[in-house]
């Protein structure tokens, strides 16, 4: 998928900074009202596509319905988002009526792009669809039973089967949440469920955790960027951190950094429809240089991007016990 002449969204680390990860100076890159009917655009997923980028965006409208829209960009920083939400093709009558969906992820496996998202079917569960052109989307069976959120596919089959991280939940603003692993021979039937990791008490990730972008394969295992939630006396605070999972048995954690990578600290992360949220859903990797652009939702309102080097993240995940 990598093309040499595709511009990579990037800004160098600010002079004097020693941070592992730094924010784009022109954040947020997508404002809440980019669409005439949008209340907010955030928690969205982008991938390389053609000679630029494409993505699936969470666009809540002014009814506050949660909808998915396709979007395109030449440089990964300036985006055109379709005004009409995605209408999935689906020949399974029981699930064909898309109701609401949110927090999409996109990944290329074998020969097509797969989209997973939190799909409302008698409660939140993991919707699955594929596309080749970001115009027509083919919806498959929901991967799991409700109530589940943050379903994230690995970018290749593992041991010959599709592999999925998810976060079993309940019906509302779930106050708990572990990450689990499941696998499937065919994207229809799922099993061999394994526990991956739990929140850590007395930390930024003490209430619940959930996978972020699709895991990134490295020589040291799968790099997992994931969000974690702390419950303050004024509600949830969403930060994100990093871990390394075993390459062949990804439910086994090789390393997990204790500090967060990023917590909400700028005004656009601290103030919005849901204060104090940074929520990563996608990461672009420039393999030759190891540069990484991480896309994350801010305060459930806008979309921003931050930058890092893959090697730094691997070191961060591996060296913080």
């Amino acid at each position: 998928m990598h093309e040499l002449n595709r511009p990579f969204p990037w800004q160098d680390r600010p002079q004097g900074s020693t941070e592992i990860i730094w924010r784009y100076s022109q954040n947020p890159i997508i404002q809440r009202d980019l669409l005439p009917t949008s209340n907010s655009i955030f928690n969205s997923a982008v991938v390389p596509f053609g000679d630029g980028y494409a993505g699936v965006f969470r666009c809540d409208d002014r009814r506050r319905r949660m909808l998915l829209h396709a979007g395109f960009s030449a440089d990964g920083l300036h985006w055109n988002i379709d005004h009409a939400p995605i209408r999935f093709q689906c020949d399974i009558p029981e699930i064909a009526d898309f109701e609401q969906g949110y927090d999409p992820r996109v990944v290329w496996i074998d020969d097509r792009y797969y989209i997973t998202w939190c799909n409302i079917y008698h409660g939140p569960t993991i919707g699955v669809a594929w596309t080749n052109d970001f115009k027509t989307f083919h919806q498959l069976e929901n991967a799991l039973l409700p109530y589940n959120r943050n379903g994230v596919l690995f970018p290749r089959k593992i041991n010959g089967r599709f592999a999925l991280l998810s976060r079993p939940s309940d019906r509302g603003h779930t106050p708990f949440g572990d990450i689990f692993y499941s696998e499937s021979p065919d994207l229809c039937y799922w099993g061999k469920h394994r526990h991956v990791m739990s929140p850590l008490p007395d930390s930024w990730q003490s209430t619940k955790i959930g996978a972020g972008p699709a895991p990134i394969e490295t020589p040291h295992g799968w790099l997992l960027i994931y969000h974690g939630v702390l419950t303050s006396c004024n509600g949830f605070v969403y930060s994100f951190g990093a871990a390394l999972l075993d390459k062949d048995e990804p439910w086994k954690i090789k390393h997990r950094a204790a500090p967060y990578l990023m917590s909400p600290q700028t005004l656009y992360e601290l103030v919005g429809d849901v204060p104090s949220v940074v929520f990563p859903c996608a990461a672009l990797l420039d393999e030759p240089t190891g540069r990484l652009a991480i896309y994350y939702g801010c305060a459930d309102t806008v979309t921003a991007v931050a930058f890092a080097y893959l090697d730094d993240l691997i070191a961060f995940a591996g060296q913080n016990p």
Copy 2:
């Protein structure tokens, strides 16, 4: 009540904007510390008065007691608010000791101004008083039993009786709330209670709703601007929307817009004593031009104004299923 030489508070729609409603560029018009003892001034009601405007303002003091103050303005934008709170004249001993009150509305019916507010009498209920000069206020019987909030009178009798919208509540930060209609021959005894409308699931108005300014009579029915509340994982978000009620049986909804008219999006709406609140309590109509100035509280801290055209609001309410 309309006088040609009374200046109307107004600012044209910003160039290029297609918004139905737009904020005053010098918002907030009333700061939290306008009074030497005020913690915040918001959720307040204004009406034409003399050759200018008068109003009843919710001024929480620095004990955080909720008090009502009278205020006056020549242009509807710059306000003088009495330093001393309103002391109601009341010859009913059981309710004569005003304790606390908040979220007033004011309306002219027949020959005087009526004020309704959330009155603390063994819990929140609907207080009623009248004035002719905004200096002396005569308190009547509470309209309803506790626990009730957001009592709003229609600006004329309907079928020969006073008509009231209210929002039955419980004792605290009520997590539910429908709008009901009641009527009275004499402002003392109330009955013929009718359900008007409920929150809508999965929307900006999913937790509770409450009437805002006094309904505005139009050829298409009563235009009701009302607030709605969504419960995020970090608390309540107050937006407002619009509906059209039947002229003679106002408990029947003719149209109800699905999107919100305004949600908290500016810093003064998102940040304050209660983050993420826009709460309308009054609307001035310039009948010849159809211009509308909507006064609303922001973040339970300050008072702002927004502008719109009545015809646009009617269309908005009627065309958004």
Copy 3:
């Protein structure tokens, strides 16, 4: 209404007992399955009628719908209950579709029997109807807005107006509750709401209270038998006690007994669909002798009766500070 030849339901105080109130030895008088479709029969109201007694009974069916049935008895102890629930005549379309109702009270005022009950109309509120034969029931406007329960009419007009006690509530198993007083010239419009009494901390009535049978007029004021609720670590406990209200201004308490009159202590009061409930809804008075038969629901499952002398209750209410 009193007829000399109507048998009074009675059993003398057990020998050696010094209790003010004593249970009927053949309690419960109405079993849960008296009707072929009944799950439970309790919290019901009886009055003298013809040469015997009639009543309105709360009969929950096996769907656990709460329905009202009429019933008749020659001796006040053995009851025949209509198999079909009451179908109210009602010409007010908005409330004509009876949905569910519970905890009825019945009282004779002037020329007819009035029934009040907890009526489901967008939440619980106070339904009102009248009958002369316990066959045809005419439903009037709901007295109050939701959310309200335990509406109890006084057995005569006071100062020329109907008088009602009620207990404003919320939507569920309300964890608070004071008794209020309202009056009406016509049973349609209600006002002049007055607070009557609140729960007492650290007592059997610390969570909420509600009026029981229609108040009984005595030379010392209105005798009010009312239930009170305590929250134990295993849920609510419903007991009942007594107070004396001022004859002309019944929102003023003259005396209120600190101890309970009765708490759940027998197996049929402690065990059932809702453990630990005694809930009085009616009292028959034999005026010549001062004998009193109090009907109460047990554990939300069955109906029982207890006996006392009016003078003892007055003394109990008056002498327990």
Copy 4:
């Protein structure tokens, strides 16, 4: 599996009774202290086995650990339960350490008995095992992700695949719960999840529902006996009812009875470790006569049996809208 000389556990309907279902007069058939270390024995599953019966029993010990024991009976009424809990054979290291398990169901499919139960694996989920002798039990992969309970297999493959009902839950005393359907080609991977049915508001099944015994195939569809829970002000009340599911698409409800079949009404159902619970987990059918013996747990303490005729249950399910 049916053998003519196997005695069927049965007692005729009591004379004069018109109940569809009636309790065994010597209930409970298994006392809480049948084992020297048992705190309680309930919510258990029995099947025909050899010339008698076998079962898997929930036996909570005096630490209040939830364990599964095998048991045997000649007549289905008197049971010997192994003193040692079942130790599952399992070659999947991640789940091989049985921690706790409860509420088993047993069903014969093709050539062996399958057991499903609520298995603790980082939360409750659906454990699966098989046996041929009730001595050696072979544990397979958990069917689903946590958090799930009340997994019940259909007694034959449907459309060539194993079929499972389950009730997605959360971590504690879940206050919600719908029944879902899933299918599997191999008992390892599960998918094609379908919603079956939800609680019904204002009824005995308003809080949550869950499948009971394995569905019984009838000419009218699958007869599903299921429990439903109502939340009173003193906690949960567990009753059970009946529905008929489509034979080929069992997620489609053909009929669902509105009344309950049985609610907790006897002392051993109303009083115990968890008051007010009847919880069916197994049903034996005597096909020639249509006699049915339903085994159910009582108050989370003891085990009882009730009797009915299959035709009556079908009629009950089909005729109560």
Copy 5:
């Protein structure tokens, strides 16, 4: 304190029973209405006194105030309880007004009896008093700050200082609770607080625990009988168990039995004001024979006694890992 001619309350283990602890066949020994004004008598403490026994009893009156009464018995089984509650002598004005108190313990140290109880002083805390005759009681400073319950003194000084177990709590029906140890040179100032033990997850003692009778000194350490609470979906269940504490550093646990000693299983333990409670507050030891009589409250309503041999309890505590 031991006198040979004082009758010991005892009943032999029932024939055939292998239970470590067995209930008195005439339980409950104190009914709820032993006093004319008592609602319930339970959670009470007895000690040898003169040639019989004395005790301090929790007697809730019919207001449901929690009061302490002294009582006397010749045989430990039949009790006379003073009709008037204890009035403490106290020369500390801030705490001299006894408000309410409950769950007393009594212990002889050096030269007098000390009573500790849950004393209401701006919340529950540990009251302390002494007596020599159970007629005059001298109240000392509260041992600890609110919010605390279940304060139990060791029956001798340890390392020269008074020693106390307690259970820090919150204001209501505390859903957590560990046992802590504190010591004092003078019964006025307390410090050197040590954690002793916590609830155990997934057990009869998973929610909270609290010391029961005063610890009993044995060659194997201090035998601690303590209650533990499990939260079922229908509320709390109180059982009790046993542990052995180090003789010199009693905050160190030497052994702790995993099973409970007793859980609520009889009707008088399962049904009452608070269902499902056995709550031990005192134990009498007949040293020559090792016989033990354990007094415990039942369902927060009545008082019962159970019997065991000290050696059996030590073995039970020591042999159940």
Copy 6:
């Protein structure tokens, strides 16, 4: 401790302002990322030290562990904070393993600096240590049992004993909280607990209150600056106010101002990890001039300073009933 040549941190009251307390124009004086590993630095305590100032700072790291760091400043406004957290010397094995700590206070008594803080020992309680150089810190016994917070020592012995204010709490975000007084002869054993003051309903301090800086001795009694918390529908709001305590019996309130002194109103107080918090932990007094510098944490994120005159505060506390 006062040295004439130590610069006092100060800024004159802004011209035209009549506020009793005013913020430093360069607030916050300590940013959240002053340390390379700090997430936030707030709720910290400073004292005169040498010819400048020293302090103990709450520095939460990026794991969100709560740690204490020493720091030094020449002018009280610019601070150097040690990169390594304080490691307490402690010879009490049970408490020697410092886990987490927060919200320190520092006070000079007799011959050394004493630090108190919220120390995690099986829950939050009051840790105590002393230092003479802010390099070596000697940890003593915890003053009180868990669960307690906001332990503040008086700056001298009272009646010959150490005196402590504290706020008994529960385990989480405690929704209640009164201030209590305790005393100790030796900083090891504590007793003579007295209630000082409670939250005030319907005010800025309606949920809980807690002592702030060490009380300041004045001719009019001890000036206590304390925080109070209001629960809005979007969480807690922390403000602070003032009271005067009796000099010899400091649990007796002489005056208590009804309004707050300061509430969160600037962006750095309203927005951060916990929105809407001003939390004072220290106050420096320039005795000759009566100037006061109050250090307070902002939004649980940064540290700020505000200025006032002691005489104004005394008047404020004394004249606002």
